[in-house]
Symmetry: C2
């Protein structure tokens, strides 16, 4: 075991990391509570491009905080994003994190209809979860395409869309579709994002309500 | 449901994405099988910095493939990385993915000794898993510091270290420590990395053995 003086403990590392990140963001005018979300995304990626890419609809973070305080559930498009969300904090307020991607009925229906599992997952969430829903999408542009269709069909379930899929095909367009959807959003414009970014944004919201 | 012509299915998206990535890597001379690992990391992050950062010890990928073919287990430092690994492919060759971070005995021992859970997790893996081990570290620099100590103590368990923690404190130094450790490594030099990158590297190796 190395001598303890050789390293710092996780919370100390995190605090020092956020100070370093803040020192790099001096020219960025983004106010709180959005600023804390941006800093956590940079903490998760070490990628300052998010200072340019991360886009919030009006009061998106405040809307997300109200939703979470009132027990909203979170729906993800990967088990990885779901694994990264601090579910014990979410549960304090009555919420649960869901990912339906690996459900056998989702796979079967997607194969039968010739659509993606992500699309069927979004439909299943809106159909089966009788709650206000926050969607945290870090992987599948088709999840965003489907959410846009669900909103246009009149469903009130999606109350906030965290739209941060990563990739080179369909991703940029799907994110712009969400920006135009009328639903509150937090979107990383461009190609970047990921399941880690989706989870980080959820946790940035949760930590504004309660930090274990 | 949007008309099917509006989007592509995941495998088609992936193939087209890899073609786009390759078109951006024309000036990068990295040969196979390392090149496929780099491309999957960029596919996961949309971040071409990895073309500069990702560093392989001699034959690291070939060594990883041999380990996986012979049933090596993978140990991660986050449940998120563990969730992202294609465990059904790993299982075809006899391997299992482990993350001990949430184990109550790990938390208790870390608190008692005043060290990080990541450190105790690494010790637990080497003590309890009677196998060749691949470590995939995407978060905790202390996991790498501890692995270096374990190797220096003479343990033969760590056969390949995927060292890609992300962050601003201790991270750069911990990665350089692994590069000097004498154990085969795949390391993202600098601040960047993450649980998603750790999982992507594992999957890049697995997909060279079997693609579902």
């Amino acid at each position: 075991m190395p001598d303890k003086t050789e390293y710092m403990m996780p919370m100390e590392i995190e605090q020092r990391s956020f100070a370093i990140i803040e020192s790099h963001l001096r020219e960025i005018t983004l106010p709180e509570p959005e600023r804390s979300v941006l800093k956590r995304v940079i903490h998760t990626t070490a990628d300052f491009d998010y200072a340019e890419n991360l886009t919030f609809s009006e009061n998106a973070v405040q809307i997300g905080l109200e939703l979470l305080k009132n027990g909203a559930d979170i729906v993800t498009d990967t088990n990885m994003a779901c694994a990264g969300i601090r579910k014990e904090v979410l549960a304090r307020f009555g919420g649960t994190a869901h990912c339906f991607m690996a459900d056998p009925d989702v796979a079967a229906e997607a194969a039968h209809r010739g659509v993606t599992r992500a699309m069927v997952s979004m439909e299943k969430a809106c159909r089966t979860l009788q709650k206000n829903l926050i969607f945290a999408i870090g992987n599948a542009p088709t999840a965003l395409i489907q959410l846009d269709a669900i909103v246009r069909s009149g469903s009130q379930a999606p109350k906030l869309i965290i739209g941060v899929p990563v990739g080179f095909v369909n991703v940029v367009e799907a994110k712009e579709m969400i920006i135009r959807s009328g639903v509150p959003y937090i979107v990383a414009r461009g190609r970047k994002g990921g399941s880690n970014v989706a989870a980080a944004i959820c946790n940035a919201l949760l930590y504004q309500l309660y930090r274990p």
